[in-house]
Symmetry: D2
Subunit: 372 residues, 4 copies
Amino acid sequence: MIEKPKLSIGLIGSGFMGKAHVFGFATAQKVFDLPMQIDLHTVADINDEAAARAAHEFGFRYATSDWRSMLANPEIDVIDITAPNALHKEMALEAIAAGKHVYCEKPLAPMAADAAEMAEAAEAAGVKTQLGFNYICNPMLKLAREMIVGGELGEIRSYRGVHAEDYMVDADGPYTFRHDPAGGGALADLGSHALATAEFLLGPIAKVMGDRVTAISERPDGKGGRRAIEVDDIGRAFLRFESGVSGSIEGNWIATGRKMQHDFEVYGSRGALVFSGERLNELHFYSTEDAPGRHGFRRIEAAPDHAPYGNFCVAPGHQIGFNDLKAIEVAGYMLAIAGHGPEPFSFREGLRIQHLVESIQKSSVSENWVVV
Amino acid sequence: MIEKPKLSIGLIGSGFMGKAHVFGFATAQKVFDLPMQIDLHTVADINDEAAARAAHEFGFRYATSDWRSMLANPEIDVIDITAPNALHKEMALEAIAAGKHVYCEKPLAPMAADAAEMAEAAEAAGVKTQLGFNYICNPMLKLAREMIVGGELGEIRSYRGVHAEDYMVDADGPYTFRHDPAGGGALADLGSHALATAEFLLGPIAKVMGDRVTAISERPDGKGGRRAIEVDDIGRAFLRFESGVSGSIEGNWIATGRKMQHDFEVYGSRGALVFSGERLNELHFYSTEDAPGRHGFRRIEAAPDHAPYGNFCVAPGHQIGFNDLKAIEVAGYMLAIAGHGPEPFSFREGLRIQHLVESIQKSSVSENWVVV
Amino acid sequence: MIEKPKLSIGLIGSGFMGKAHVFGFATAQKVFDLPMQIDLHTVADINDEAAARAAHEFGFRYATSDWRSMLANPEIDVIDITAPNALHKEMALEAIAAGKHVYCEKPLAPMAADAAEMAEAAEAAGVKTQLGFNYICNPMLKLAREMIVGGELGEIRSYRGVHAEDYMVDADGPYTFRHDPAGGGALADLGSHALATAEFLLGPIAKVMGDRVTAISERPDGKGGRRAIEVDDIGRAFLRFESGVSGSIEGNWIATGRKMQHDFEVYGSRGALVFSGERLNELHFYSTEDAPGRHGFRRIEAAPDHAPYGNFCVAPGHQIGFNDLKAIEVAGYMLAIAGHGPEPFSFREGLRIQHLVESIQKSSVSENWVVV
Amino acid sequence: MIEKPKLSIGLIGSGFMGKAHVFGFATAQKVFDLPMQIDLHTVADINDEAAARAAHEFGFRYATSDWRSMLANPEIDVIDITAPNALHKEMALEAIAAGKHVYCEKPLAPMAADAAEMAEAAEAAGVKTQLGFNYICNPMLKLAREMIVGGELGEIRSYRGVHAEDYMVDADGPYTFRHDPAGGGALADLGSHALATAEFLLGPIAKVMGDRVTAISERPDGKGGRRAIEVDDIGRAFLRFESGVSGSIEGNWIATGRKMQHDFEVYGSRGALVFSGERLNELHFYSTEDAPGRHGFRRIEAAPDHAPYGNFCVAPGHQIGFNDLKAIEVAGYMLAIAGHGPEPFSFREGLRIQHLVESIQKSSVSENWVVV
């Protein structure tokens, strides 16, 4: 039996998303037959103590307070960036320059111009990139795309997508980096997921008409005062796909009661699909080809028929979770690094989402349709 | 015991909606303690035979092939118009001129200018008018409005509405009057319901941005050829209410699998409501005031607490049906005629909906926000 | 056009169920093309005033405080009994003796021996009888039976049924006639519905094993004291159908939060059906014959394909209500009186249900399986 | 920073459940702050090749075809048995004798007498034991128990539980060890889960009345012939808890369409809970204390409020999966080994379930209530 080659990870950041990535590496390694042994090499954080604690907790071999030291380390293959958004560009560009593969949490960068620079640098350097967009790794979304592409819905005619949560619902919640006019807002934060899913399912969007609303006009600035909010709490768009299909999306972070409303509805001439992220193991399918009097939306439960569900569980309907989606993302990226297929969501695709978000933002200002 | 005064109905048309009105009269009379005895006096149809058959089937005392003869008959109090849309204006104006109350199926008229003429004539004549918009008669919508107005959701922040069905999904279905460029289309036919519900719940809409799409570009013309379709199969709008709240609606008659997707979601600072017309006896309510760890959308089932459900059934959760909504509409109109309160949905309100629809239509052409 | 013959009703009782019957007559007459004109002839109540008020409210021509006077009236064809349960037998037997058709609210009589006497008298007299069991009139139950009988589920293998509500949940609710040891209890009151549906779907039950539980051991007696409760708050049974299929039912009137949990699940070798009375317009169907990876419970919405839904509404998915089920029952009974088919649920079938209930009651005492 | 002590695992078996345990170890280590470092030491399988492959795939350091060799190895702390059921007893007793902690997949042993021997041996030896019963590790079940114990439902009055799947639905599926009269059948395989959940929520069951049914009477014997089936395809029981509460459960492995119907309903005097394993992240709660007209079953979504959900994800409603439940089980067992609290489900509790299953089996033969 041949020993698998080692692939060494250098993680920057050990907060919520850093932890989620570590879960993803651990689960991916066990659940998938990856062609490499993932090695949790070094974790970098803002000071030695935080880094050491993270190394201990997450199981990394080394810790550092100097993320740049990892770039110089020839043992490290992948730089995994879960640091604050404002640092993504600088870190990624330096990692690319050092010849590392780069895994970066979303968003790629606050502005599309920065994202473009990053995507182009990575492509020029020939390194593999991955942006965190794990909703599209759901086997039920993969199934939905297969059904659409395979013609099971007939000719596609309309689309409704939404990603709504409620973590900004409290008007007394403080101003955060997510409210930064450079790149912030519900459209960028959540609408981006709705857009990614829309293109994942129906292909490229050709033009958009946007609507952005700031519903909570000021928030505590954390210094005892209040600060005006410029970014949107709700971002909406009408869509035209290149195929000619029309649709709409909404991103909303003040949708009280919603924790994971990553929903879509696709209507075709012979069938329809309805999905809710609140029940991520179900896809509802209506077919006009069912027998008369026997039509209805069918609740398809995730099962081994829907790869890669079967890697997690051989029994149908037992359900995978959010962290499992991250493991699927990690596995796809690992396979891409090993030369098996494209990245699940490369920097190029991340740039694409930034373009879409900015197009919608522009449109909402100009009050005109904007070609993407 | 005092005998109730008689209120005599003259019905024009005996098709699907004529029948639904008759069901409504019959049920309203039994279910509500109305201050009058509804008398099914005369039914008019295109020829004597059809009219006689309808009188027999529906239980009218007289039949006629000349609807105008009913206007001259002093025994008749209400003219109920369920004839084709193109005839609504002429019939209503003559009935008003004859001093009759007028009950008219939607839409009031193809164009807002016509609708305005009708509303104004009725108001000048002092007769009571009613347009068929029975979805808003649902006790769960009444409950929703009470909860919103009563502050149970806190400050309202966003709205999503839709009315989607699939009766036009077949591209080989023929051109009908609903495809007539004067007043036709999914926005007018179904989006109008979504708009009525939006204003019923959140008050007046101030401006709109529209998007209309013709997905099936031509249909059989019924003469062996095909005819281009000019009206929308899907109509969407961004909304700004006068209150400042933003939202969106969609009307769609090619939403495969949908039979009654009259849905809405309302998000406030302290709560949310979610409703689907597919389960018309349920309203889902989320309150931020529930205890920690006990939050969740609560499925409120229609019950005697939610008037006028209790008129139909003293037991909660037993469910009313679509025809019962029509009976509620009839009862409300009867009460208005008797001087108890306003009409549930007068010609003035019907005109309002026409204005909204036309504003969205204009906006979709001009590609600009249109003030209503 | 030939005038329809008149069928005259004499109603006894004007409470909740009397009112529901009147709604049923009114709606049935309008919705179905019945071969007769239903005439609300006379209503009887405990005194002249109550009777007169009911006649006025319900639209009967005459009122009486002497129900027996209706038996002697040759104009009256049907005696409709919605009086207290304890009076059902006496009234029905006299009405049968007078040659009247008899429509009786459930239960037929507190004890099976009485019910047998009633069924036999009616059959000997050749009159048509109907017991109020309107849940089985739901088009979705009719569909379920057709699917089962037609083999769409393959060989049937197991059954779960329940009818649970919560109207007795309050331990401070008073002792009522429903707590009378002669015929009372949740099994008799609600379990009877679960049993009727079970036999409607799967045919005769051959033997039962019962379990009855009194959870609230005493209740206010209405006179300031408390009274011990002997009847069951929960009745359960294991079932063996004559076909060999096994199953279970439960009747429960202290199921907090349940208003209409008339549910069943049927499992066959090639499919399954799941129904909940909380959403009476839906039947969920699973078929093993769906394509691989496309299996799932399909939510069939009531539609014109499912007779007699189409009599109420030509559009699918618009939903009928509880009162509409009563109208279907009335229509079926009217057709039976006119000689078109059997009664929907005759006294003979009511007797059957009493036998089943008593067999379960016996079994719960003897702690043995009881052959029905 | 102090290095955590190592806890070394010796796994027997590398099939589906072996893999699930490995996932559980990997995830538990990352998600929980365990007081030890889990070391995947040795995996044993039927021959060297299978063992080596499993070691490679799962990440164990050593492989062996002789499971007994692991007992003699002082480096190994825990023997984890996922071998066929018939071997559980022998393996566990030898491991206990060797002083190892023992983790064993369910069932503990085919017969209660064997299970008792195992539980007693473990207790005498003072080793920690764990049986695989991960459904009760679901945070929503923990929440349910807290709500019941904390009185949020008032006095508990009735219970319905079920565990139904459909993996035995095909009558041409072959005879397997699950059909072995010694310990086999749906009641033992799935009903055991329903029983464990019932006691987890409501405390000890005092007596049972059973009903077992073999619906598929013979199956292919794998040698070209057919073999009679003696075990149940469906097992049902009426229950009396020691508290006096009554209930029922069903285990069913031929419930077509069901993949994870691990459901329960609990009714109390002031509230109710409804759960379905098909949506394992939701608990539906009805409270009589909601405001009038605002009652309804509330869909509580798993969130950080419901420990240990928050270990997996800081965001509410993002959903955990089946494998995560196994990780919670592993973590609980690891903590118990480290002296922090009791095992989540020890051999003693496994024995209890065997007693319950056998009591129901006996009752179904004797046709009498059996005291547990």
